[in-house]
Subunit: 480 residues, 2 copies
Amino acid sequence: MSEDQLTPRSENFSDWYNELVLKAELADYSPVRGCMVVRPYGWTLWENIQQALDRRFKDTGHVNAAFPLFIPMSFLEKEKEHVAGFAPELAVVTHGGGEKLEEPLVVRPTSETVIGYMYSKWIKSWRDLPVLINQWGNVVRWELRTKLFLRTAEFYWQEGHTAHATEQEAREETLRMLGVYADFAINEAAIPVVQGIKSETEKFAGAVMSTTIEAMMGDTKALQSGTSHYLGQNFAKAFDIQYVDQNNTQQFCHTTSWGLSTRMIGAIIMTHGDDKGLILPPRLAPIQVVIVPIYKNADEKSVVMAVTDRVFQELKTAGIRLKVDDREEVTPGFKYNDWEMRGVPLRMEIGPKDVEKNSVALARRDRPGKEGKTFVSQEKLAATVAEMLTTIQAALLERATAFRDANIHTPKDYEDLKQIVQNGWAFSYWCESKACEAKVKEDTKASTRCIPLAGQPEQAGNCIVCGAPAKRKVYFAKSY
Amino acid sequence: MSEDQLTPRSENFSDWYNELVLKAELADYSPVRGCMVVRPYGWTLWENIQQALDRRFKDTGHVNAAFPLFIPMSFLEKEKEHVAGFAPELAVVTHGGGEKLEEPLVVRPTSETVIGYMYSKWIKSWRDLPVLINQWGNVVRWELRTKLFLRTAEFYWQEGHTAHATEQEAREETLRMLGVYADFAINEAAIPVVQGIKSETEKFAGAVMSTTIEAMMGDTKALQSGTSHYLGQNFAKAFDIQYVDQNNTQQFCHTTSWGLSTRMIGAIIMTHGDDKGLILPPRLAPIQVVIVPIYKNADEKSVVMAVTDRVFQELKTAGIRLKVDDREEVTPGFKYNDWEMRGVPLRMEIGPKDVEKNSVALARRDRPGKEGKTFVSQEKLAATVAEMLTTIQAALLERATAFRDANIHTPKDYEDLKQIVQNGWAFSYWCESKACEAKVKEDTKASTRCIPLAGQPEQAGNCIVCGAPAKRKVYFAKSY
């Protein structure tokens, strides 16, 4: 195996992932244990994710703001479950400007507390509600078993924090934003996530209800890819977020929070990638089309580059993100491998014969080899390319959906469940007791991923673990 | 004075500024001393600044990436001047995940060191150069004498870090990015900055040469609004950033760094604001036009709102950022004050008479009262509004330029200089000695702001302080 090849996915999924992240130059390890460096190619992917999400946040009435990186330790302690959940993974600033601080400051692991404090200052009346604010930023959760994008001490995300007059409005907001995440994942990242509710054990520290979008990775493990929480009045009471209602009575707000992080890049890699590297959904790809000009001598170069330049301008004008790989020191074959590793959805080859025939060759990243290669006319090329990008986007979603559906099974009994979760998701009735959830985890390492919002049976059944009556079905799966 | 009015600028510029930032809801104090909360209106302004800069960075070949928040203390110590400059203002993480860290981590005050470390890993050959990376993020410099946007412990900025094969290329990059900042400040923020070189005393800790854009605030003090540094091989040698050149010889890179921060928001406030509040340049304003519908009864409301809705759609389609203030519980007069405080460049009033006459009233924020009010036809309104926004943008720049030029004086002798810097900038020959610079500072509190790149006299002269021969002129001024 050459140095430029990846360990096959089927051989060692984890090695394949780690190698791909480095070789595609998405991210790198940093000198600070647990932290990552997101390299330009990976960060551009994140910028495209940010834009697609931010547009949706603004369309649903949200605005962005920025809250402090540091949070007084005492703030975290005001919400009992919250501090219990986050205490083990805090980074603590004890010194500033050469002096020991009176009160240690925590580097934010999430911002419910400090934002709650500000909301209590800003919110006075029902007229101030709802408050719909999002923040793009970095957070820190101390973690030394690093896996780039999936688990790092510092990561990048957005965290939405909203305050509402009523429980109903806050619950609607929670599900609205879960829907936004699902819409983004499915239609931009081509990841067929399921939307559902987290179990009591799996919910956010301090939440009344946590919801999640869960995605199936290429090794059938589940990845929690975005979460949205109804926080009830827990944080409102801890931080005194009150408003005067229309009857002139003081009321506590109902709040929500929701977040999606650079973990989504891990989800994209592990959903679509193959043994040749990354495969990016065209809607998010930093480079949608790479043009490789092919020539053997100066004469050929001159005619090929003339067409290449014209095509580049035409496609760029049409809003397609593209690049010409005009490196002289490497072969076309090297370039093909290079851009396949980086997951560029479409490769265009332009050689002397193409110039003669007024054609170009297009090679789809999602269908390697001859199957994915076509020769198309240079006439109306931008339209042809745009259409093919749309086709690739749809094909990626279709393939991921078929894979997911082929790996979700309904166990006939508990023994069957134990088999299924070794290599897939089990969808079964569950009595919603912590005992049964813990038993599955102990026996199989699988956890409850979510009680899906859609696709629940009309009739009640029996818990797959203990046989007790159960109203709803849940997904059991191993997870990242 | 009503609670909603500001202390007049002329009475107390500092109070005026502090009150404006809070009342316009740009930012707020945070519960962590020294940190700020940037509220949605202020953050949207920052987003517009970011977009205008980011477009320019990408047009000049730069890409974005993300480097860790934490830096090992030992990294800072590798560049002697750098650590000496930043040591007094560091925030230090000593504990992570419940344990004391082996080596304390600094929350980045700037990222030359950790980025230098990564560049030494990534750069091997001349083919890898130049590396042109920018990072948008937050940094921390411990500071307890807070002034929102101007001086806070945590602030937001971008920091560009580039590596080049030669000194010439790196120096060109340094000036190119200074030019990008100046272009942004002048053409987007309507702030007539001067570009120049910092003195040895004022330069960045670790730089060979620092350059700056300096702006004159409404109280004639100078504000350093963006800086670009040629770092020589200082960081390359400290972090071993080497490449193999075309003759197969190991060489150290030449590096640059450049940054512009949320301080720019302070510059905008103090350049354009007046006693009624903020005045925003249209190109950066979160809301360019606010429409205030005016009616006394349901009949009037119905006709006025019909026109308002149509106008809103027309302007929105034309890409104008606008808002309809349809609040029922406050008077039009209250709304006028409210949006004047927030600096919306143009107010549109639509009342029953306007509906009859097929007109609307437009009131320019930069020209209060009748002088700035005109009645225009509803025909081709989007074009009329766009043109007026362009006019306002130009008028703001013109006014600020006139103010700046009226407050820059050439002192005839040292006594005159001492007078001038009490309320303006002095432009005079300087021998470039630290002694003369220090004397001016001690006598007047004014510092050298920059040796401007343009407008230098052709002939040499004599230092305004000591009379020694001097090649170039410098600006002396009090500063933020």
